[in-house]
Symmetry: C2
Subunit: 422 residues, 2 copies
Amino acid sequence: MNASIIAIGSEMLGPTRVDTNSLKITSALEDFGIEVSRKAVVGDRLRDLVDEIRYCSERTDIVVTTGGLGPTEDDLTREALIEAFGLKTEIDQTIIDRIEKRFAARGWKMPEVNKRQAVVFTGQTTLKNERGTAPGFHLQVKGKDVWVFPGVPHELEWMLETYFTPWLQQKAGARKRHRRVLKIVGLTESGVEEKLKPYYDAHNHEPLTILASGAQIELHLIADDPAANAEREKELLTIFSDKIYGFDSDTLEAVIGRMLIERNATVSVAESCTGGLLSSRITDVAGSSAYFMGGAVCYTADAKMFIAGVDPALIQQYGEVSEQVAVDLAKGVRRRFRTTYGIGVTGIAGPGGGSEAKPVGTVHIAVADFDHYEHRRLFWPMTRAMFKWFATQSALDLLRLMMRRAASTIESRSSGGSITST
Amino acid sequence: MNASIIAIGSEMLGPTRVDTNSLKITSALEDFGIEVSRKAVVGDRLRDLVDEIRYCSERTDIVVTTGGLGPTEDDLTREALIEAFGLKTEIDQTIIDRIEKRFAARGWKMPEVNKRQAVVFTGQTTLKNERGTAPGFHLQVKGKDVWVFPGVPHELEWMLETYFTPWLQQKAGARKRHRRVLKIVGLTESGVEEKLKPYYDAHNHEPLTILASGAQIELHLIADDPAANAEREKELLTIFSDKIYGFDSDTLEAVIGRMLIERNATVSVAESCTGGLLSSRITDVAGSSAYFMGGAVCYTADAKMFIAGVDPALIQQYGEVSEQVAVDLAKGVRRRFRTTYGIGVTGIAGPGGGSEAKPVGTVHIAVADFDHYEHRRLFWPMTRAMFKWFATQSALDLLRLMMRRAASTIESRSSGGSITST
């Protein structure tokens, strides 16, 4: 069984917008092992729409369309379906009543044009839309299943859940496929592939989706049987060990948040070249105020000294971008904010500010707890935005690894509150 | 004249990746007034590819394909073109030589499979690729122009610039269309449309593209004649005045950077609910270390007092989320970092932490200079990520407006360095 997806709307044929609705539909189909063999975007032109619908229904078992169901003259999906499949229509008064009620609830009168949305296909299934005015349709024509959905994302999502997934489940014999995502940090894509070689060999090179983006790698396991995924996952955990930071929808910052809460620990940040991004990522997590006490963005030597308490002698001797200053930033901010952990980041994002000894892309990262610290020196000569992201990724990872390693010691659970703040 | 675009590659038919190459191609076509009437994504299957290429070349004057030109068995674009158009092929030895040289430069031997990339079409134009190993093609078949490009984004970009745009320029008679983008902050999309009514009426409702995203609105003017755009721009500047913060590729943070440099001024930030995002956006601009002196992320009352110098009595009396504390954050951080301007942000991002008097979504923003301050109270009950972004957008805008208003006063150019730091 295979499927095709048609996104309808001229606005998606311009240079600024892409169709992302199809990803949600693909995800639902893939859950049941149904392959998407083509996707298309067509504008609001009747001829193009009719041709496209016919072309897809001749080639795939399932056709899914989104968009073009609104009340205006631009919305031609209905007309195209009528012409493509020779369908008959009728007016569904219950839809007019529903739309009138929606308008009345806001104290408005339903515009006459909205009546177009009550045109349904005789003998076919109309799908009520509780999130908006445009109903959807499930058509069965010439042995093919054609699903017609509105293009507004939150309306589409509701309709997929309410009508499409249950139908797929039945159609595919409840063989919903299971997806498990393992998330890796601290390795490159080729580093991951290198490590995977024995795994591939052991499993006859069965496919495993590897997705790399933003300094992290995802491994996607898909199977009909969750036990098969669990088996594979165990093997991959052995291969990648603590490089796997989380699963499924986990983010690195959310995982760190959970670990801090489990340990009754807190964190603060003194960052230079990442310019606030590290604090911002930590505070992207709802509830982070429970463990994030604050941060200092130290773009100058003065700020490093006066705000994060870095020893001026260290800056003098080693320069602002050095292991010593990164460590003193971590220790200093930890004291200032009285936290269990302090993170220090200093480096050269570029494009200016580099030298031969310390080229653009150099970054020092340190994490300190009450009695020790760890440090990483890294080199990422890339765009400013990527540099900032990679550096925060590495800083969060260093904190994660320190917490893992300290997991069994009592000390790591002390709040650090006994240390005198300056 | 119209065009269609085919993105080739099974990886773009999964639930995680979209084709974005087509946006670059669309942008080039639109510059010359050529409409894209359809876009498609097809997997690496010969039958599907052949059908798709035929379908598009029957319907549009120009067909552009990306991807499927690599050396492996999955890469079937060549085979599909041969079958779709009945083309003959030959080996281009100069391509083998080039690829061998590329490998040799890294000390490697060219794998045998790469020889496939030297297969070119007899009597058609081969496009050398200086950014990679896969050449592209310009085919002229049955009166249609078929452009075949690699899918790697930076290779595609180079090829579009080198071959495609010059050809379009010639084809369209050098009628390159001109695009001018006006960027608006501080208005909603419906607010912009309201203000545009008289403009639409005056110009017979001629189209003007309005794009809203991330708490800003873009107005896109497109014309064959740049003078026409300049004329329209003047009118729009009268309508929107200082709500227009910049043009074309400007970002709000970059505009603010330029304004600070022009005024020989500096800025620092004390932010609570935005969690570092405000500092991070300011430091996204290359060269921001010239005017950004640092920031404090004050997630606790203690941090607000000890790091940003907020008066504890104000917190006691008005609470952490209040106009008074926002203003004292701005003033305090300005003193601490000895900057011309200080920005203070305090609010409730949610989902927790709200109350009846101060519900989730409440935010106070203040900007202080040496002798006065301005304050905004805003209410954005939305997701945490959106709340953070909207709040930074408003804070940057407040700084921008203060600088504009102070543009004529000498005081605004003082660096603030004479103020005693505490």
